[in-house]
């Protein structure tokens, strides 16, 4: 993990939790620590340390394990903290797929880290009531039951999973485990009791069989985001028919393949055709299915490969090469915007030639020599290119000519870009906080005014009168300042979301690349 990433996760913890949390997080960044070490190193009181650690464990930011002498050691999971950036994305994804009520459920689980099914449903229900304040109470019964059904739908679709629970109370450091078959088993909840509980007629403890905690299964969300990225890429490169084909193909793959392997098992062509027909796709796509597969296969993006020609053939998806293409395309776009179109040309050339010397490079790129040299060395300076020196064996007398070859260490470039992303996210986060703090007085004033107008409206005052009061209390310059601050913060948040997509692609590439290397061994 890089220093930049550490800084970012530290900032995220500060923003979402608070100062003592950050202190303990920073301490854990150095490596696994026991409780005593944390207390002595940070000077935070033991009660607070315990509280913070349990919060971290609840969110999955920290795991624990017993060390050699049987004392618990706490280990930070920095990549889980970075997921905080992606929470809005998860919510919009669920909203699109399953609608409003499921989104509220996920929101509650994300907010609490891990939670029992009953509590999740009740919290989501309270939220739903607040949002739909005017909603009628007649829908009440079906609503809680509906939420329970939505909950179970999320469980069976693996968006929610059961957390591991301690096996027994004998061990000093509990060993957590969960049976595989229980992970995605829907919960059985007594709907009557739920309703009674909601009305406050019974206490929560009376509900039995609900000791299990549930958490979000981020891998499942990532799988969806990954598929979306792949489908969109195909759509951009070819057309919507090809995108549809990719979508159907990915769906078929999950029937017979673990979603996170480097390449899928082959899917027979006939099966794809059946699936397309079942989904009532455009007959054009079905008619030219084989041609589409050929076109996508021949393309440089290398998403799919075909085994054996003819109608008996089958197709598989190669995730490693797909994400290599996606990561390259992302990095190309960064180079293009950061250093210009011509630098991007040089960058791509070096990548395709693997090793190239300055003179050869200048001959191909058709850029004036001076400019080409300048751009090449600029890329070198910013670690997008690497230089490889070829030394000739020293000859006696005469000038020795060494060869300097440019090349790209792609994983290193990815790391450079990742670091840039971390700095950028840190910057947007801290700038947004700064803007908020700087204009705190103004924001508070505006909030007061909003509540004032609301109460005026409740009293039944005239709209024009309310407007008049508002204008008197808030001068135009103040108003425009407020608007610009709001715009700025909104824009910063927006770019955070965009940045996360870059992070996602590069992280996934890193995952696939290391996975592939392991397989080779």
């Amino acid at each position: 993990m890089s220093v930049r990433q550490g800084n970012l996760s530290s900032l995220l913890i500060l923003e979402h939790f608070g100062e003592p949390h950050r202190k303990i997080h920073d301490e854990l960044l150095w490596g696994p620590r026991t409780l005593k070490l944390i207390i002595s190193n940070t000077g935070v009181p033991i009660t607070i340390v315990k509280k913070v650690l349990s919060i971290f464990i609840q969110y999955g930011f920290v795991t624990f394990d017993s060390n050699k002498i049987g004392i618990a050691e706490y280990v930070l999971q920095p990549e889980k903290i970075l997921l905080l950036l992606r929470y809005p994305r998860y919510l919009s994804l669920i909203n699109e797929k399953y609608g409003d009520s499921s989104r509220h459920l996920i929101e509650v689980v994300l907010k609490f880290g891990r939670l029992t099914a009953t509590k999740t449903i009740l919290q989501a229900w309270i939220k739903l009531k607040v949002v739909n304040a005017s909603g009628n109470l007649a829908k009440f019964n079906t609503k809680v039951a509906g939420l329970r059904d939505s909950f179970n739908e999320l469980v069976t679709n693996q968006y929610l999973v059961k957390c591991p629970a301690p096996e027994n109370d004998v061990e000093r450091v509990p060993i957590l485990s969960v049976k595989d078959e229980d992970m995605h088993k829907p919960v059985v909840l007594d709907i009557q009791k739920l309703i009674q509980l909601e009305k406050g007629e019974i206490k929560e403890e009376t509900i039995e069989n609900d000791k299990d905690l549930w958490r979000c299964n981020f891998d499942r969300f990532h799988q969806d985001i990954r598929d979306e990225i792949m489908i969109n890429a195909i759509k951009r490169r070819f057309d919507s028919h090809a995108g549809k084909l990719m979508e159907v193909l990915l769906k078929l793959i999950y029937i017979r393949t673990d979603p996170w392997t480097t390449q899928s098992n082959p899917v027979p062509l006939a099966e794809i055709r059946d699936a397309l027909e079942k989904e009532k796709c455009n007959p054009y796509l079905i008619q030219y299915l084989e041609q589409y597969i050929k076109v996508i296969e021949d393309d440089s993006c290398q998403f799919i490969k075909r085994i054996s020609e003819g109608s008996s053939g089958s197709v598989y998806v190669n995730f490693v090469s797909a994400f290599r293409s996606l990561a390259s395309s992302t990095i190309d776009s960064i180079v293009e915007h950061r250093f210009g179109l011509k630098a991007a040309r040089i960058f791509r050339l070096v990548r395709s030639k693997i090793y190239i010397d300055q003179e050869q490079l200048q001959k191909i790129v058709l850029i004036p020599d001076k400019e080409a040299k300048q751009l090449t060395y600029r890329l070198l300076q910013e670690s997008f290119l690497q230089l490889h020196e070829l030394k000739k064996a020293a000859t006696s007398g005469g000038p020795v000519k060494n060869f300097y070859l440019f090349h790209i260490k792609f994983n290193q470039v990815c790391q450079v870009v990742l670091d840039m992303c971390f700095i950028t996210v840190s910057n947007t986060l801290s700038r947004a906080t700064y803007e908020k703090n700087e204009n705190m007085r103004l924001i508070e004033k505006f909030e007061k005014l909003t509540s004032l107008t609301q109460s005026l409206r409740d009293q039944g005052n005239d709209e024009t009168y309310i407007k008049q009061v508002m204008d008197e209390l808030m001068s135009p310059p103040e108003k425009s300042l407020l608007d610009s601050v709001e715009g700025m913060i909104q824009k910063l948040r927006f770019s955070e979301l965009n940045l996360d997509e870059t992070l996602f692609i590069l992280h996934l590439y890193g995952y696939y690349d290391s996975f592939e290397n392991q397989e080779k061994k």
Binding site: L326, R338, L366
Partner: protein, 326 residues
Amino acid sequence: MPRAKVDNKAKASTSAQSDPNEQIILSLVVAGGTKGCFDDDLEKQVTNLSNEQRVQIINKLITKRLIDVYNAGGRLIYKIRAEESENTPEGLKGADTEEKIVYGLIKEAGNKGIWMRDIRFESKLQPTVLNKILKALENKKIIKHVKSVAANKKKVYMLYELEPDSSLTGGSWYSDQDFESEFVDVLNQQCYRYLLELKQKYESDPVAVKKGPVALYAMISATPLMVCKFISDLGISKVSLSEDDIQTILETLVFDGKVEAEVKPGGDRLYRAISALTGPAGLISAPCGVCPVLNNCRIDSVAPVSPFSCPYMTAWGSISIIKTDF
């Protein structure tokens, strides 16, 4: 040690009038062939001559430019002058031996040319002498100098009638020594425009689309020849561009990521316009993504570069969000 050189034709004419001793020595030197004949051997074989007489004869032969004298490890070697080629230019006939050496070196270099310094090393002539010779040869239009695009101040010499190699002139993209970067950029744009229009034309044509994706992609692909024809019809180029020239332009488009090349069996290349797999990366949606001082940025209110005082971010934040299609 300058080498004396002799015209072989001259030998026949002069040898007839020379005395028999001269003939004998000359024949011995000829017998030595390319290896030459040592002075000691000559002394042993021609016993009837005194040392002074022999030296006299040899000097005579040298002045007649029939033989060369060399020094090998303290011993003298005589060699017959190599035959001069038939196509020696008129201006060089009867010229100075030094001129002939320089001429020979320049001729050897071919259309790649030879640098003045290299001539000096090879011929071991003084710079002033060499300069004079080169000027003389240039005036006679036997040789010419060409400036190389690789090094601006480097002059290379080659025979007058030769066409300089493209590594010296830089090919079509150079006029004199300057790289025509604007010309190349315009060509780059126009080639892309052609491929893009080709793509749009067929993709919006329902008849073409009906033939299926493979046929469609074949239609929107273009050979360098097609692009070349389009460019010459446009008339933007004063010089006529060959297919190879256009292909180099198309290759730059491939490296721009705008075009994909497909290699057909037989080595022909087809080009077609493509769009990138991903939209603009998320990183560059924030000003930091293109910030030149990103590495100096510190989250610290007193640091010279920090997100709090960043003018780029302030300017960027004051413009409202334009929804883009990501």
